[in-house]
Structures are given as C-alpha cells and as structure tokens.
C-alpha cells in the first residue's frame, strides 16, 4: 500500500497539519498549501487563488456552508483534479470569497474515502495511505 508522509509544520512548538498538494485549474498545475481538516466537509480554497489563475470559479455549483459562528458562507463547488504525493484524482473543491480563516482547508469529501489518514503528532508526521 503506497504511503505518503508529510511533516507537521511547527510554529513556536505548536503543530499544524499542513501539507502541499497539487491543484489543476484549466491546463495548469498549481502547488498549494492546505490545512488537513477532518471537521471540514469539503476542500475549501480562497477564491483569490482561482482569480489569480484566471479560473471561472463562479461557474461552479453555488452552495452555502455553515461555519463556526453559525453563519453561512457561499461556496462555488467544482470537480477538479488534485494531487497528493503522486496520486492524482478528481475531487470536490470549493472556492469561497468568505472563507474566514487564513488557510485553505483539505476536507473530507473525495479525500477521506480515498486515503487512510493518520495524524501522528508524536512522530510529527501525517501519513496518507491508499
């Protein structure tokens, strides 16, 4: 079983489960940093990434997702290619102009069913197993 290993990112001793993944927009692959978030239903990215890449993100399916303060944010959902390690696959990816956190989030849909993900803080690594 292929196992892909990522180091936790550490800031002043605080560990963050952030990894670098590939995202294909139109014909171009973009490396992007994401925070692995088992509490997020979808992979959610700042809309400014799509704007910067010239990708028509507003052509996606508009849904509203509830966030921590109880409010709803608009999200434009797309089926896009992602790459984690050498694995490429199509995933539901949403873009929002009102993400409200500094990070892009790698959520459960299309990801947690594909990989067995282990958060190993003691070893300071995350592993993705297919």
């Amino acid at each position: 079983m292929p196992l892909h290993v990522f180091r936790y990112k550490s800031v002043q001793g605080r560990l963050a489960p952030m990894i670098t993944v590939g995202l294909r927009l139109d014909e171009t692959w973009y490396p992007i940093g994401v925070y692995v978030d088992s509490g997020a239903a979808y992979t959610l990215l700042h809309a400014d990434i799509a704007r910067g890449a010239g990708f028509a993100y507003r052509a996606g399916s508009l849904i509203y997702l509830q966030v921590g303060d109880g409010s709803f944010i608009p999200v434009y959902l797309h089926d896009l290619e992602l790459q984690i390690g050498p694995e490429r696959f199509v995933a539901k990816v949403g873009f929002s102009e009102r993400l409200g956190v500094a990070f892009n989030l790698l959520g459960r849909e299309s990801i947690f069913s594909r990989f067995t993900i282990c958060f190993q803080e003691r070893q300071r690594i995350l592993t993705f197993e297919t």
Partner: protein
Amino acid sequence: MRRHEERRMEAIVLQEYDEWLAEHLEELISQYPSKVVAVHLGQVVYIGDSEAEVYQWVRQRGLTPMPLVFRVPQQEDLEAIL
C-alpha cells in the same frame, strides 16, 4: 510511462515545497504575516497582498516549476483555528 514519469516529477516538486514550508514556516510568519508569498527553488521570490497579485507576477515571469503561492498566516491564526 511518460505520464507516470510526469507524475513522479510533480510529486518531487510538491515534496520539495512541503519540506521547504516545514523548515521555513516560522520564519515566514515572523517576516510576512498576512502576506502572500511566491516560493521558487528554495527562495521567497515575490511578496504580495493577494494571490491574484502574486500569480500575475508569476505568469509574467514564466517560472517553472510553478512556484508555491502561499498565504502566510499570523501566529494567532494557528492558535485560533478550530
């Protein structure tokens, strides 16, 4: 076969960016909080206020491989995320 090799190359690039972030995130947070940076070949090559601005710069330069464009969090962002 060629497609397989292409994926391996991409995977190496992603891994290099990920390792670079693991080594330098703390430094980025202290130097460029809330900024968006482009990282290429182990160096910060551009600092901007938005991904749109940084990608525009990247496109003009035609850099390969594609730089990692990264929104630098503030220290408190890491403390506050649920």
